[in-house]
């Protein structure tokens, strides 16, 4: 007979979980494994609320196992390190992102691409090697293999830096991989939410010219004055879109709702690349002619490996990049989820775990 979540492991833990596809979260007692030789035990201070958390608690993608404790933008302090751990010490600032395990031996793992390992273990809603389900960062503590923990830079604020662990790496990685780092080139960022606003900041730090492409004209002032975008394109304005045809070297498409690709593809120059990092739950329509006639490309990207995640954090620290956040108490998480579903947030909720989640 399977054990209850509280009894599975020796260390008691408290989190908030959704128990069904209404997605409503409430307090949940469970347990974490003992700190092994390769592990770091972390007291969680902050956890970002990623749009994926919302999709997961509502089972939008069809693979949620309830009860589910979301949260993969975790920042905290190491409280204990195993005998083999050299990179971290108790008391050090650390972060955990989207994954907590992988096979470590395949080609992807050997190339620091653990996120593409066919046996990757995600931070929540994934099976541990012992068969138990793991629980994410809407909780007071977590035990993670050191390989999947990053140093959190001293000069980054822990609350505003938390979203970098997913949103940050999600846009940084494809920018590096698809060559979007050449100063002076023109990047379009489609969608101005958690991912989009970080993409603008990182794009500017790479010296790119950045245009935000959005269906919300009300976001223009923010985009230009606060986030530093060079220009703003309202995607529902045909004349503005027409004047921007063939002007962009790359586009990062952060939109997770189903949306047409054709208008975005026409914005690209010849050889231009559109990278989709949003996760629509249905296929998109791909018009072929604009791809063929311009040798354009539509690629995907999924977070990044651990080495690159550390590199991204260090890059953000160097350029003073953190997310624009709204700090919330864990008790307000359900209201936050509803507001997130309506994109009513500038631009990421972050849970103040340490000050609001207690036994």
């Amino acid at each position: 007979m399977s054990k209850s979540p509280e009894e599975e492991h020796p260390q008691k833990a408290l989190g908030w979980a959704a128990r069904d596809n209404s997605g409503t979260l409430s307090p949940f007692h469970f347990s974490r494994r003992e700190n092994g030789d390769d592990d770091v035990t972390i007291k969680i201070l902050y956890c970002g609320v990623c749009h994926s958390d919302l999709h997961t608690v509502r089972n939008d993608w069809g693979f949620t196992r309830y009860p589910v404790v979301p949260g993969h933008e975790i920042v905290g302090v190491a409280t204990k390190v195993g005998n083999n751990v050299t990179k971290f010490k108790a008391g050090g600032r650390v972060g955990v992102g989207v994954m907590v395990g992988s096979c470590k031996t395949c080609e992807c793992c050997q190339q620091d691409l653990e996120n593409y390992c066919p046996r990757v273990i995600f931070t929540y809603n994934s099976h541990n090697p012992d068969g138990t389900i793991n629980y994410g960062g809407y909780s007071d503590m977590i035990v993670v293999d050191q390989r999947y923990v990053v140093r959190f830079p001293d000069n980054l604020p822990m609350d505003a830096g938390a979203p970098l662990l997913c949103a940050g790496i999600t846009v940084y990685s494809p920018m590096k991989y698809y060559g979007m780092t050449e100063a002076g080139k023109h990047l379009g960022v489609a969608g101005l939410g958690g991912l989009g606003h970080v993409a603008v900041k990182i794009g500017k730090a790479f010296g790119l010219k950045v245009t935000v492409i959005s269906s919300s004209p009300s976001k223009e002032s923010e985009a230009i004055n606060r986030l530093g975008a060079d220009s703003f394109l309202v995607s529902s304005d045909p004349s503005k879109m027409k004047s921007a045809i063939g002007t962009m070297d790359y586009i990062i498409d952060t939109v997770s709702a189903v949306h047409p690709l054709l208008p975005l593809l026409t914005l690209l120059k010849v050889n231009g690349k559109l990278v989709t990092v949003g996760l629509p739950n249905k296929p998109l329509e791909l018009p072929i002619f604009p791809l063929v006639l311009g040798r354009k490309l539509v690629g995907g990207s999924d977070v990044g490996g651990m080495k690159e995640t550390q590199e991204m954090l260090d890059f953000c620290a160097k350029h003073n990049i953190s997310a624009d956040i709204e700090l919330i108490r864990i008790d307000d998480i359900n209201t936050a989820m509803e507001r997130l579903a309506k994109s009513d947030v500038r631009y990421r909720f972050v849970i103040d775990v340490a000050n609001s989640l207690s036994q």
């Binding site: 593409y116 054709l262 989709t276 329509e285 063929v292 006639l293 040798r295 490309l297 539509v298 690629g299």
Partner: protein, 363 residues
């Protein structure tokens, strides 16, 4: 008042045209411009029948001007050169492909990417700089700016060289650009027609392992014994697909009918690309999850500039690489079009223009 095609230009020409949308081709008198100082005048010897010719006759893409003389896989002999022509002499065997003009000043033209010039002129059914419509290679003569002409090396038989001018460059270019030309890589080729079989041949010469992916099981023997493919996958056989999941470094997809991309994306290794070179007339469905979870990409490619076209022809000559063709007389062309629409050709029709296209006085 519009001049009639015979009077637009000073040189008499004769070809076969569709006079209106979807009409069968029939003899057509028209004219070509005088040989300008940078032009070469060409006696056409052979012209390949590209699937695009079928689409253009039917105006499937909304780009067609009528009367329409198709043909952009042209091989011929130079019979006159303009006073400033440097690269060609009378008697040279040459090829003309997809384009006959570009602005020559934009960034793309400056980088040998004339095919991406926003003001390019297609070999047929395109507005030329003087406002007249261009006519293609199903005709007896051609006048072309030397920049858009390539040499055909002696080693290549002229009839088999014709399909290289479009099919050849269409598959050669992405193999190079997307770096699928390294020995030991595993390439999938979807569709075994004019483009597909040429892709298999180029890839094998480059030392690449090739799997043909097809809906026609009867093509397996041909693919493996005649074309040298390493393996053959029937795309609707689930167990064959599953066994090949995540094994390919790249896929060249030559299929122009609407088809599902999801199984093809599944065949790719992570970080690999599916490259479309066929031209479906409707959008395809793009599943986003598999792209994201494997950092895969869907890209596309369309011929290439003149420099690379010459490079491709030279490469083919060097490696004795010839498309498999069926040579036909011009009055078989309508039957050939019907057969082509059904995929009934191994693997390209080539019209023997020199010996069968004769101007007649009765039209």
């Amino acid at each position: 008042m519009l001049k009639n095609p015979e009077e637009e230009h000073p040189k008499k020409a004769f070809g076969w045209a569709a006079r209106v949308q979807s009409e069968v081709l029939s003899p057509f008198k028209f004219s070509r411009r005088a040989t300008g100082e940078k032009d070469v005048a060409v006696k056409v010897l052979y012209c390949g029948i590209c699937h695009s010719d079928v689409h253009m006759i039917n105006n499937d893409w909304g780009l067609s001007y009528y009367p329409l003389v198709p043909g952009h896989e042209i091989v011929g002999e130079v019979n006159e050169v303009g006073s400033k022509v440097e690269k060609f002499r009378v008697g040279d065997k040459i090829g003309v492909g997809f384009i006959v003009g570009s602005c020559r000043s934009c960034e793309n033209c400056a980088n040998n990417l004339e095919n991406y010039c926003p003001n390019y002129i297609l070999t047929y059914s395109s507005k030329d700089y003087d406002g007249t419509i261009t006519y293609g290679g199903y005709s007896d003569i051609l006048v072309v700016n030397e920049h858009f002409v390539v040499h055909i090396p002696e080693k290549l038989p002229l009839d088999a060289a014709a399909p290289l001018l479009c099919a050849g460059i269409t598959v050669y270019s992405p193999l190079r650009y997307f770096e699928l030309d390294k020995p030991g890589l595993h390439l999938g080729v979807v569709g075994l027609g004019g483009l597909g079989h040429t892709a298999v041949k180029f890839a094998k010469v480059m030392g690449v392992k090739v799997t043909v992916i097809s809906t026609s099981p009867h093509k397996k023997k041909e693919a493996m014994e005649n074309l040298g493919a390493n393996s053959f996958l029937v795309s609707y056989e689930q167990d064959q697909l599953e066994a090949a999941m995540g094994t390919m470094d790249g896929i060249i997809d030559t299929v122009s009918a609407p088809h599902s991309l999801l199984p093809l994306i599944g065949l790719l290794k992570s970080h690999a690309k599916l490259i479309l070179v066929g031209l479906p007339d409707k959008p395809l469905e793009l599943p986003v999850f598999p792209l994201i979870l494997g950092r895969k990409a869907v890209a596309a490619s369309c011929i290439e500039g003149m420099q690379e076209t010459q490079e491709m022809i030279n490469f083919a000559a060097q490696h004795d690489l010839k498309p498999d063709i069926e040579v036909i007389p011009v009055d078989y062309v309508n039957t050939a079009m019907e057969r082509l629409a059904k995929g009934d050709v191994k693997y390209r029709f080539v019209i023997d223009i020199e010996n069968t296209l004769k101007a007649t006085s009765e039209l």
